[in-house]
């Protein structure tokens, strides 16, 4: 059972500041909800070690013991890559990348990769170059790349952005299925309906700060903060 405690301050996009003090517990799917520019993606990048915060840090605790931030811990946490960053190689090679980094043997790699591609419905595309996939297929491949390494924590940043409803539904199904495979899922989205459909807990962010964290049902029924209420009503909070 892993817990994350983040207490960070970080400048992003030139002048804005992410100032977050938050905890995430395993066994849950958190939706980090908020308008564009509220610092959601920056927070996710800090949690996944891709960006170093200006001050403060992120602590990972397992069964009451703090974990050392080494490569082993890094390998337990995966952020689903962006579609624009797919490798100029076959779908199969793309899925195997995380396994190669973890020094998994070649034979094991191809078995895992094929299994994972089957779960996202891309097994028939394994020999195709990843750069010619449609948006929906590319997004499913990105999810497969993350799932293939069997992470304990998965971080997703707007996984259904610019997808049509059919592909968005497919991606959401894969995310729902993640709950049974992964200890902790953090999903960044500005889509409140998606947050309601998928998450157990909603963390609402506004102007770089976590304004409210509550159970999804409660958040959507009676949000505590004015900003969250306005956001849910579709009123401008920018």
């Amino acid at each position: 059972m892993i817990q994350i405690h983040a207490d960070v301050k970080h400048h992003y996009e030139g002048k804005s500041v992410v100032d977050v003090d938050a905890s995430y517990e395993s066994g849950k799917l958190y939706a980090i909800l908020g308008p564009n520019g509220s610092g959601k993606s920056t927070l996710l990048r800090i949690l996944s070690f891709i960006e170093e915060p200006d001050t403060g840090g992120v602590d990972f605790v397992e069964s009451g013991r703090p974990l050392i931030k080494d490569i082993q811990l890094k390998h337990r946490i995966v952020m689903v890559p962006d579609r624009r960053g797919l490798f100029n190689d076959t779908v199969l090679e793309n899925v195997q990348y995380g396994l190669k980094v973890r020094k998994i043997s070649k034979s094991e790699r191809s078995v895992i990769a094929e299994e994972t591609l089957e779960t996202v419905g891309l097994l028939d595309k394994q020999k195709v170059n990843a750069l010619v996939l449609s948006n929906g297929e590319a997004q499913r491949l990105c999810l497969a790349m993350a799932l293939a390494v069997s992470p304990e924590i998965i971080l997703l940043d707007e996984p259904t952005a610019s997808l049509d409803p059919y592909n968005a539904a497919m991606v959401e199904d894969i995310i729902k299925d993640m709950k049974s495979r992964v200890q902790l899922v953090l999903l960044v989205t500005h889509n409140m309906f998606q947050a309601e459909r998928l998450s157990d807990i909603v963390t609402f962010m506004y102007e770089g700060r976590v304004i409210e964290t509550s159970e999804t049902r409660k958040f959507f029924k009676s949000p505590e903060s004015i900003h969250a209420r306005e956001f849910l009503k579709g009123e401008t909070v920018y």
Binding site: P81, D82, L86
Partner: protein, 230 residues
């Protein structure tokens, strides 16, 4: 006259003329070695530029881009001064040697390799590096992934540099001296034979130079076509 020159040129090529093949072999040796060294240095520059966020990155890239247009005679002159007996590296006694020619070609090729490869890597490099980092790669593994991903564009940088070093005459003439059986390469031999009026050998060398460039470029092109999707 031209027809006669061409027919003699083909006789020289088909007859496997000793002196002709000596010149061709030295050309390939000097340019091949220079290209290898320039590729290593050029890729290293690209890696350093990508790996470290430096405030001098912009100016460094501008300087490298400027150096892609270095006039070979200027490089030859500069290197001549440095390698001449009274120059700072005169004690190495490298002037008028194949080594000096390799150095000159490396100086000319490095900016081309670095400039083209950096342009290739910086266009898609950031998103590919992010993907590698997302999946648990170290910084070094992420840079390797970027280079591997841009392999076809990196190959283009080597092709460009190859064209430059194979066609180059000014610098190798100054620092090599066009010494028979020692530093005479195809381009310097063509220049000399043209001066002397021996067009047959000059044309024969010209044909070989073009044919070699064509074959090598064809090889690179077929490799690029195989996998390039970006």
């Amino acid at each position: 006259m031209l027809q006669q020159a061409f027919s003699k040129a083909f006789t020289l090529i088909l007859g496997i003329d000793q002196s002709l093949f000596e010149i061709v072999f030295l050309s390939l040796k000097v340019s091949g070695l220079a290209l290898l060294i320039a590729t290593i240095i050029g890729f290293a520059i690209t890696i350093i530029l990508e790996l470290f966020k430096s405030p001098f990155k912009g100016i460094t890239v501008t300087i490298i881009n400027t150096f892609t247009g270095l006039p070979p005679v200027v490089v030859g002159l500069g290197l001549y001064i440095i390698l001449s007996r009274s120059g700072p590296l005169g004690f190495l006694s490298l002037l008028y040697s194949p080594a000096a020619m390799v150095i000159a070609q490396v100086i000319l090729a490095v900016p081309i390799v670095a400039s083209v490869s950096h342009a290739a890597v910086s266009s898609t490099g950031n998103s590919v590096r992010q993907t590698a980092l997302c999946l648990g790669a170290t910084r070094f593994q992420a840079i390797s992934a970027v280079l591997l991903d841009a392999r076809y564009s990196l190959m283009a940088s080597v092709i460009n540099a190859f064209g430059r070093v194979m066609a180059e005459v000014g610098a190798v003439l100054i620092v090599g001296g066009n010494i028979a059986h020692y530093t005479r390469v195809m381009t310097t031999a063509i220049a000399m034979e043209t001066d002397r009026g021996d067009f047959e050998l000059a044309i024969a060398l010209g044909i070989i130079l073009l044919a070699l460039s064509f074959c090598i470029n064809l090889f690179f092109y077929s490799m690029q076509r195989k996998g390039a999707k970006r």
